[in-house]
């Protein structure tokens, strides 16, 4: 409630455009600190329950999962599950499908990082430069809207648009009737990753601009005014004022994105992929899901936990690497 630029709070007037305003804001936050701490509680509780209390479950990587029934203790399943040593990891490293999934995860994430990461930054800068404010707001809404659609819905739309009976094929047939029998955009290994990148940019690009637009709005107008007086044109102002001013945020977002590289977006891929594109689209998360819930043999949480643990070890290494690289090149890290 204190984040709006101006706020009438009883008799105090907090103007965030001035240093005094920020000091006053800090004072107010300190004054009501117990409320903020209290409001943190649900978040802390969720994190504790779902992120920390589940951690002993990692031990299943070295066990064969045997469920317990009627046991009220939290970790009874660990006691009932026998140790199997490194058997799961040994099996894992022999599975070609696992290495395919690992490679796909990294490739798809890297492609998303290369094409998807800069997209909202560029979009935010372009939106910021728009002169007509009302049109700008409409555009922002239009770009942000796809974020609120689930991948289930979007996958259905993609199939309807790009499928064999889809509109795009019919349109293409007007120009080239031979595509009638050769059309297979949705399960062609050559196009599938492109489809993933484009649909991801379309869905999340607009949403990603929110953070950057907020950062751009916080740039001191005096900097732009000074640059204008010095003769900088619009493009030069973007390069020399806007971009440096939001670069810290970009670095933080980049490190977080790198740290998230092993999560190549399960929802998106699971809803869009099919068996013919497994070799280019099966990522670790979809592989684990199929192993755990769609296997025709005995479900083994131990094996899938081992896969998940391996994934997170790589993830951890990546985030440390990105943090180190950021610091080594003179930027800020996150730790």
């Amino acid at each position: 409630m204190f984040m709006s630029p101006t706020l009438n709070q009883s008799h105090d007037y907090v103007d965030l455009r001035t240093r005094k305003g920020w000091k006053l804001l800090g004072k107010k936050i300190w004054q009501y600190k117990w409320i903020y701490l209290l409001m943190l509680l649900p978040g802390i509780a969720v994190t504790f329950v779902f992120k920390y209390m589940t951690m002993p479950g990692i031990l299943l990587s070295w066990k064969t999962f045997v469920p317990t029934f009627g046991d009220k203790s939290l970790f009874g399943y660990l006691a009932s599950s026998p140790w199997v040593g490194w058997a799961h990891f040994s099996r894992l490293f022999k599975e070609s499908a696992f290495w395919t999934a690992t490679a796909n995860t990294l490739i798809i994430s890297l492609l998303k990082l290369i094409f998807g990461f800069p997209f909202p930054i560029l979009l935010a800068i372009m939106i910021n430069e728009m002169i007509f404010k009302k049109y700008k707001r409409v555009l922002q809404t239009v770009y942000t809207f796809p974020h609120f659609l689930s991948w289930v819905v979007l996958a259905g739309m993609a199939i309807n648009l790009l499928g064999d009976t889809g509109v795009i094929k019919r349109f293409a047939m007007l120009f080239d009737p031979t595509v009638k029998d050769s059309w297979n955009v949705l399960y062609n290994t050559r196009y599938f990753r492109t489809l993933l990148i484009l649909t991801d940019m379309w869905k999340e690009g607009g949403w990603g601009t929110i953070l950057y637009l907020a950062a751009i709005a916080g740039i001191d107008p005096a900097l732009n005014e000074a640059a204008t007086i010095d003769g900088a044109n619009r493009f030069q102002r973007i390069v020399h004022v806007t971009f440096p001013q939001i670069s810290d945020l970009i670095v933080i977002m980049f490190i977080l994105s790198v740290g998230n590289m092993m999560n190549a977006n399960f929802d998106q891929i699971f809803n869009l992929y099919s068996a013919p594109v497994y070799k280019v689209a099966d990522v670790i998360d979809t592989y684990v899901y199929r192993l755990t819930f769609q296997s025709t043999t005995v479900m083994d949480f131990g094996f899938s936990t081992a896969v998940g643990l391996f994934k997170n070890v790589i993830n951890f290494a990546l985030i440390l690497g990105a943090n180190w690289a950021s610091k080594a090149t003179g930027g800020d890290g996150i730790m």
Partner: protein
């Protein structure tokens, strides 16, 4: 101060909301006032003769939690209220869908968060997994002494699955819903094609008896696509669609290239090898790949993860459909959807069809399945009273009185018994004379676990069954009707390697679909896959050789 209070209340509420995620361990039924929204506790109906018998010994009201398909349609009718009053129960339904059913069951068991009746589409290859759960104490034993439940006892006498699959150390831990198949069917299900007979007639290629060779069927598909009797637009009529689980397995099994095509078969040396390594599998794969590449099978079938295949057929966009096209499917689904929506004008316009094996152009193959459809387990937390009540209900549903209740509803309200013992159904009828049932499908609700209702029944659209008259006559009399056998011994084998890997079904299916979609040199692609798979299946085959003679 007000803001502080609001913030405090909000924070507490948000924290408390976490409790919603907590696992409930309550095993006793909640008081009526706390009953979940979906419970059905309607009072007795006043529907003429349909007064339920006085609850005999059912003084305690019980709430039974059970997962069902179509939860939103389940338990809302007068008939359900009558049943609930008869047994003094109410229901807490947990919804599942075809897509998430097994996944949810696995998650519930793993978390010890099962409904009282855990009902699922358990297949024979789930046996090892089920036994792991049963040994760990997941389920109540179904009492060995079934004196109190004679109808269930009578079904146990006729079932194989209860002993072969669902018993651990001689104790029964699951109740199979028996199929009640006639003997001549050899426990086959109906993986066969349905087609638009009216379109076949329109292009002048219809054959009396609905029996075709593959060459005739393919020519008919091309003719339909070119002449467009369904008026879908030039080139827009789909040849064949199917249920998602049919591609590629069912397309292959109907071809009849091999008799026994269960996971592992014995080679010439008497050693076990996976069926997918045999030449028969390769021939099947080539045939289906050709069908797909030549445009007979719908191209988007590859990416269909729902019911688009079936819906295209129901919507009049496809000529043929492959699925479990049983008489009850025709009666309860296909005709209902297509006649009621005006896609076909007469039930004669759509029919099941026989396509002979391409091997000899005269044999017709179905596949044996388990002697039940779906299994229900009673969860370990269920007490004796609830267990007995559930078994009482199932026993009654398995009686002739229960069967009539399921297929015809309530006497006086839904039907009248004539002097000669026949029934007059009181429901509205369609223009074609078939009945409009006020009840949802009986195959997906709390009545199903007891037993499947024998068909044909007194109330369904008989057209669905009539369409099978010729085909079933063929199946009963022709030496060319064959059934791929189910290998009970192999598929209930609980060896370590076999339990872990089975017949690599997921890998094989994924690769087969990949090849079908890609086309090209099937032999080269399949050889490369077999080479990659050989070290994986050998330990399993060795285990089978050592343990199964």
């Amino acid at each position: 101060m007000t803001k502080k209070l609001i913030c405090l209340v909000l924070a507490v509420l948000m924290t408390l909301s976490l409790a919603a995620c907590a696992k409930t361990t309550e095993t006793t039924p909640p008081p009526e006032s706390q009953a979940p929204a979906q419970e059905q506790t309607q009072p007795a109906t006043d529907s003429g003769d349909a007064e339920p018998a006085a609850p005999a010994g059912y003084d305690t009201h019980l709430t039974i939690k059970m997962n069902v398909l179509d939860a939103e349609k389940t338990g809302n009718t007068e008939r359900d209220a009558w049943f609930n009053e008869k047994f003094n129960v109410s229901w807490d339904f947990v919804p599942v869908t075809w897509g998430d059913w097994t996944e949810k069951v696995r998650a519930w068991v793993a978390a010890d968060d099962m409904p009282d009746i855990l009902w699922w589409d358990m297949k024979i290859n789930h046996t090892a997994e089920f036994k792991t759960w049963a040994k760990a104490g997941a389920f109540r034993e179904i009492p060995a002494d079934m004196t109190n439940w004679p109808n269930l006892a009578e079904r146990r006498e006729r079932l194989s699955s209860d002993d072969m699959m669902l018993s651990v150390d001689g104790k029964l831990y699951g109740w199979p819903s028996s199929r009640e198949n006639p003997e001549w069917l050899q426990n086959a299900y109906y993986p066969m094609f349905a087609y638009r007979r009216d379109w076949a007639k329109a292009v002048g290629m219809y054959k009396e008896g609905d029996t075709y060779t593959w060459d005739e069927a393919k020519a008919m598909i091309k003719a339909v696509q070119e002449q467009d009797p369904g008026q879908n637009g030039a080139g827009a009529t789909i040849g064949i669609t199917c249920e998602t689980w049919c591609l590629p397995g069912v397309f292959m099994e109907v071809l009849g290239y091999a008799d026994d095509r269960t996971g592992y078969v014995k080679n010439a040396d008497g050693k076990y090898v996976p069926y997918f390594t045999t030449d028969s599998y390769r021939q099947e794969l080539k045939f289906v790949t050709e069908l797909f590449q030549d445009g007979y099978i719908w191209k988007d079938q590859i990416v269909d993860s729902g019911s688009d295949g079936a819906n295209n057929f129901f919507a009049g966009k496809a000529f043929m459909h492959l699925g479990n096209n049983s008489p009850s499917w025709f009666s309860g689904t296909a005709y209902l959807k297509m006649v009621d929506t005006g896609i076909v004008s007469s039930t004669d316009d759509v029919a099941p069809m026989i396509i002979y094996s391409p091997v000899d152009n005269k044999s017709f193959w179905l596949t044996e399945t388990e002697d039940y459809w779906t299994v229900a387990h009673i969860t370990h937390s269920v007490d004796d009273e609830k267990l007995n009540r559930i078994l009482d209900m199932w026993d009654w549903l398995a009686s002739e009185e229960g069967r009539i209740f399921e297929v015809a509803g309530l006497e006086g309200k839904d039907y009248e018994v004539n002097a000669d013992g026949t029934y007059t159904i009181l429901w509205d009828v369609n223009p074609d004379g078939s009945y409009i049932s006020p009840y949802a499908d009986t195959g997906s609700n709390m009545y199903t676990p007891a037993t499947l209702v024998p068909s044909p029944n007194e109330t369904s659209r008989m057209d669905g069954y009539a369409a099978f008259t010729d085909i079933e006559a063929f199946m009963q009399t022709s030496p060319d009707y064959h059934v791929h056998p189910l290998n009970w011994t192999l598929q209930t084998f609980g060896g370590e390697q076999y339990s872990l890997y089975g017949a690599f079904d997921s890998d094989v299916k994924a690769k087969a679909i990949e090849i079908i979609a890609a086309g090209g040199d099937v032999d080269a692609q399949w050889d490369a896959f077999l080479k990659e798979m050989e070290p994986k299946w050998q330990p399993v085959a060795a285990e089978l050789d050592a343990n199964l003679k």
